[in-house]
Symmetry: C2
Subunit: 141 residues, 2 copies
DNA sequence: TCTTGCTTTGAAGCGCACTTCATAGTTTAT
DNA sequence: ATAAACTATGAAGTGCGCTTCAAAGCAAGA
């Protein structure tokens, strides 16, 4: 069992964030010592880790709450949850596609900069000249 | 040349968002008809598309503004911009890793659900029983 | 001409995900 | 016994990225 501060240290969150998650019902109510101080169990910590993984993947609080509420209703909500997870996976693929696009654009940009930096005359380019150079390069590929 | 509304339609943004971007200096000042109404040029539209690509990849407004401000200073800022782009690419890889993690977790979850749905008894599982089943499965792999 | 619709501006509002603050009670160490 | 550290709560504040609003000016068709 861990105190608020310990749980915060372990998970890398703040105590305030943990309370926030609990209030928003992403966590099951945390057990208390003599009706006052929170005691986080190992299971709580694991649960928090799962939440963090979802948060890092930009799953909104609202959705996580929905999922958790289905979860605590037990086995009868499995097919609903499967559907949620499926939709979420689709969304992830979408997000990844966006990142891939941006990655492609910026890597092209980086290569362009490397190329420009080979010639000292680059210093004197205006942004419009540079823009046109980049466009012509992009088109010719 | 396009009116505010047309530019909004073409780019899929709202006129308010376009004004917001201009105010935040992601866009160069848009030319005006008789000192009043905005006229968006083809170049403006292209520029906006670039901004949108960055936004879709979660680049914050603040960073885009920084970049644009270097850009309009011309060739002498190329090496600075190269550095920015490099850092941004590193961040992208990070974000993708997070998405990959989440994807792995949720795909495992999905497979688990598919498996559970094979047996009707799954209906009667409590969330704790389910959690333990999932954990044991994860550990044994 | 009058109405409808587009445009302008600044200011205020909003949803999200927390953080910070104010106030108060508890526990531990010295 | 008392100070230092930790915890609790609700409420307010923050930063982001827009959106919405209010008040006003312009423009084109019936």
């Amino acid at each position: 069992m861990y105190s608020a501060k310990e749980a915060a240290e372990i998970t890398g969150l703040t105590t305030a964030a943990l309370r926030y998650y609990e209030k928003e019902q992403l966590l099951l109510p945390i057990s208390r010592t003599d009706q006052k101080y929170r005691r986080y169990s190992e299971t709580d910590i694991e649960w928090i880790n799962m939440i963090q993984c979802l948060r890092r993947a930009n799953v909104p609080i609202r959705l996580i709450r929905e999922y958790v509420q289905l979860l605590i209703q037990g086995g009868k909500t499995i097919s609903q949850r499967r559907r949620m997870v499926q939709e979420y996976i689709d969304g992830l693929h979408n997000q990844m596609a966006n990142l891939q696009n941006a990655l492609a654009l910026t890597e092209k940009k980086l290569a362009f900069y490397e190329e420009l930096l080979q010639r000292p005359a680059a210093q004197n380019l205006t942004y419009l000249e540079e823009w046109n150079l980049f466009k012509r390069k992009g088109d010719s590929e």
